[in-house]
């Protein structure tokens, strides 16, 4: 999970990394009287806010309040802004870059250090990679003195400043391990005109799998926007019940075909095919690892909580452990409760799939649900095509009879 600047700086504070003096502003009235020059910084999850005009120089409280009322609770780079940081204007002599993240190829944390910091660091990598130092850390040894010396080998900074930078490196590594960070970045790490080293900006990405030991319970969000209601509801399903996985990943999408998949790789392969055939998914989510029926019920409810759906696709690879009858019963219970008129395509095989077939066919008959069930004889991609075709036919029927309510539609097809 990615943090905003002020949250990342909260981590920095706990490990004593020197940061610029800032005040969190959630409301225009939070701005105290002042007369000097300060920076008003929009708190976003996306990068590049400086270039987009999200960091403004303000002289005095009046100017700050005027600007704050414009930013707060409005959209900036597609994000709803709820916080600003009123930050000290540090006198910059030099901008450094310091970051740490995992190198997936070497499976080790890597420090990135450059004495040409600032907004164009990526550009610098193309132009003059020699100005960027990379230092691998042997994880089970931890950060050692030699690692820091290596990064500072060609430094042009005065020794006292180098010592401060080294100190920040050590503290940043402590921060990295103690808070289970996947990535940390200070850009810029400023050397002030008085030769002090200060973190002026901060980026942090935390490991969600380590949530159980996070020291600070940060509010959950997905991607570069706050979580939607459906996403929050889906994530909640998984939170307090460790049996199987359901809803841990949930992304709201624009389409009209509701999706319940099983197995990450299968889900992606399935969506690739669905879109190739012209279908539009309404969401992306998964369940697996033999979750109990109640978890699947809850997830189904979230998945179907959307207007104008034209189909539900429940698909996954042949299950090893997942009880197909029990998990599909969870889906079916909600279908019986809501009695949707749209087609439902199910491609699932595995333990107890014969039972599942009997159960689904009985429900199709009894409740008039438009269920199409397949096992492993139909491939995932074929199931995706069947879903797209049926959904298209369903929409065609609706468009032909716009005056009719979907409930009538449902009764008609119940007789099939």
């Amino acid at each position: 999970m990615k943090l905003k600047e002020f949250e990342a700086k909260e981590l920095f504070q706990r490990v004593d990394i020197p940061i610029s003096n800032g005040l969190l502003i959630k409301n225009v009235n939070d701005i105290p009287p002042f007369h000097d020059a300060r920076l008003l910084k929009v708190q976003t999850l996306a990068g590049g806010r400086g270039k987009a005009g999200g960091v403004c120089l303000v002289r005095g409280a009046d100017e700050a309040r005027k600007l704050a009322s414009r930013f707060l609770h409005s959209l900036f780079m597609d994000e709803q802004i709820t916080e600003l940081l009123l930050d000290e204007k540090v006198e910059i002599a030099k901008e450094l870059y310091l970051g740490i993240l995992f190198d997936t190829s070497k499976r080790l944390p890597v420090f990135i250090y450059s004495e040409a910091g600032g907004a164009d660091i990526e550009e610098l990598k193309r132009r003059d990679p020699s100005k960027i130092k990379l230092g691998e850390i042997i994880y089970h040894h931890g950060l050692v003195e030699d690692d820091c010396s290596f990064l500072l080998k060609d430094s042009s900074l005065p020794p006292s400043v180098q010592q401060q930078v080294k100190d920040v490196m050590k503290k940043l590594y402590t921060c990295f391990t103690r808070f289970d960070c996947k990535m940390l970045e200070i850009n810029p790490l400023v050397v002030t005109t008085e030769n002090n080293v200060v973190a002026v900006d901060a980026v942090a990405v935390l490991d969600d799998d380590a949530r159980f030991r996070w020291e600070i319970p940060f509010v959950e969000r997905t991607n570069n926007r706050p979580v939607t209601k459906r996403e929050a509801a889906a994530h909640l399903i998984d939170k307090d019940d460790y049996r199987g996985v359901a809803g841990k990943t949930f992304v709201d999408l624009d389409g009209d075909i509701a999706i319940l998949t099983s197995g990450g790789g299968a889900s992606m392969t399935l969506l690739d095919a669905l879109v190739d055939y012209g279908g539009k998914p309404a969401n992306f989510t998964e369940y697996g690892g033999n979750p109990p029926m109640e978890k699947v019920e809850k997830l189904t409810r979230v998945v179907l909580d959307r207007e104008h759906l034209s189909g539900l696709l429940v698909a996954g690879v042949i299950a090893n452990f997942t009880n197909i009858a029990e998990t599909l019963k969870g889906v079916l219970n909600i279908l019986i409760e809501q009695k949707p008129a749209f087609p439902i395509v199910i491609r699932r095989a595995g333990p107890h799939d014969d039972e599942a077939r009997v159960m689904l066919m009985a429900a199709k008959e009894k409740y008039g649900l438009d269920i199409h069930y397949y096992d492993e004889k139909i491939s995932l991609t074929q199931a995706a095509k069947i879903m797209v075709d049926l959904s298209r036919q369903y929409k065609d029927r609706l468009n032909k009879k716009p005056q009719e309510k979907p409930t009538k539609e449902k009764k008609k097809r119940g007789k099939q």
Binding site: K2, A46, G47, Y97, G99, I100, L101, F102, T104, S105, R107, L108, I112, I121, E122, K125, I132, Y139, H140, T177, D180, K182, M183, L184, E185, N187, V203, V205, D207, D209, A210, T222, N224, Y242, V251, L253, S262, G263, G264, G265, A266, M268, T269, L271, D272, V275, P281, F284, G288, G289, V317, I318, A319, N320, F321, P351, D353, E376, S379, T381
Partner: protein, 304 residues
């Protein structure tokens, strides 16, 4: 032959008394695997399907020897279980547990490198040397029908798709030598680049099929390995066919890793880049998943 595990491999199951561990134990025994013992702290002295359970690996080693440990313990204690197996000198560790914190795995990988231990996973569905032995949940229950013995080595970043890929191959009359589910975590154990050399040495394997995904760098690492082999004048000797999923997911809003991610990975991780570098390195990339069967078949036949 096969890679990693075979009918002689002596397995230890850590977390054998849990629901998943016990289920896998049963399936492993059915598949012909030699499950020597299990470990669950505090449950020493019990038996699971006639397999003796010990409190620690050390205790178990007084009576037994192990070639491979399979990890089923919960994510919060997985690190200590993996470290225990490494300290005990077990050369191959298959981590089935999901959701292990990345820092815990980073510690394990760094120690594994020093101790020359092979870790497969985490989030692995297991390893299946078809007709010989298997570990982990792979190919359990009905999923067995997907796997048939034969000449294709399969490596998959998705557990489910290791089964689906084998199913597609089996339906085309191509069995599998060994199927390895390597997981798809941020940090992965032995992946494509580390495993294809093993398949190259395996006489039974005639071709290799991969299931890759967006994110990470394991496809790029493989491409770099194959290119290096070419430059050394020892080009890789067996055909490789891959499918990379995530065409659609690439367009979904994703977490940006900011500058640091871009500096280390550049444009690595995207499907576009993976397909490009794999093709340049001589790998055949399928556009539709079920096409992998036809593509590898053509190449095996033309080799004969």
């Amino acid at each position: 032959m096969a890679i990693l595990i075979n009918e002689k491999t002596r397995f230890l199951i850590q977390g054998i008394t849990g629901k998943q561990g016990e289920q896998a134990c049963q399936e492993m025994l059915t598949a012909g695997s030699i499950v020597v013992a299990g470990v669950t702290p505090g449950k020493g002295g019990q038996e699971v399907l006639a397999v003796p359970v010990y409190n620690t690996i050390k205790e178990a080693q007084q009576k037994h020897t192990f070639d491979c440990s399979v990890i089923f313990v919960p994510p919060r204690v997985a690190k200590s279980a993996i470290v225990e197996a490494m300290e005990a000198g077990i050369p191959l560790i298959n981590v089935v547990t999901e959701n292990i914190p990345v820092h815990d795995m980073a510690y394990c990988f760094s120690l594994a490198k020093e101790k020359k231990v092979i870790i497969i996973g985490a989030t692995s569905a297991g390893i299946f040397s078809v007709g010989k032995a298997k570990c982990g949940p792979i190919g359990s229950g009905k999923a067995k029908i997907a796997f048939t013995p034969g000449p294709i080595g399969v490596i998959s970043r998705s557990g489910g798709m290791s089964c689906e890929t084998s199913l597609v191959l089996s339906q085309a009359g191509l069995g599998q030598s060994t199927v390895v589910s390597i997981g798809s975590d941020v940090l992965m154990g032995a992946a494509f680049a580390e495993l294809v050399p093993l398949f190259e040495k395996d006489k039974e394997t005639k071709g290799i099929v991969l299931f890759g995904e967006i994110g990470g760098t394991s496809e790029e690492d493989l491409a770099a390995y194959l290119t290096k082999r070419k430059e050394q004048g020892k080009p890789f000797s067996k055909p490789i066919v891959a499918f990379i999923s995530g065409k659609f997911a690439s367009n979904m809003p994703g977490v940006s890793l900011g500058h640091a991610g871009a500096i280390i990975e550049g444009n690595k991780g995207t499907r576009e880049n993976k397909v490009k570098v794999l093709r340049e390195a001589g790998v055949v990339v399928a556009e539709i998943h079920h096409d992998v069967a036809r593509l590898i078949k053509e190449r095996i036949i033309s080799k004969k």
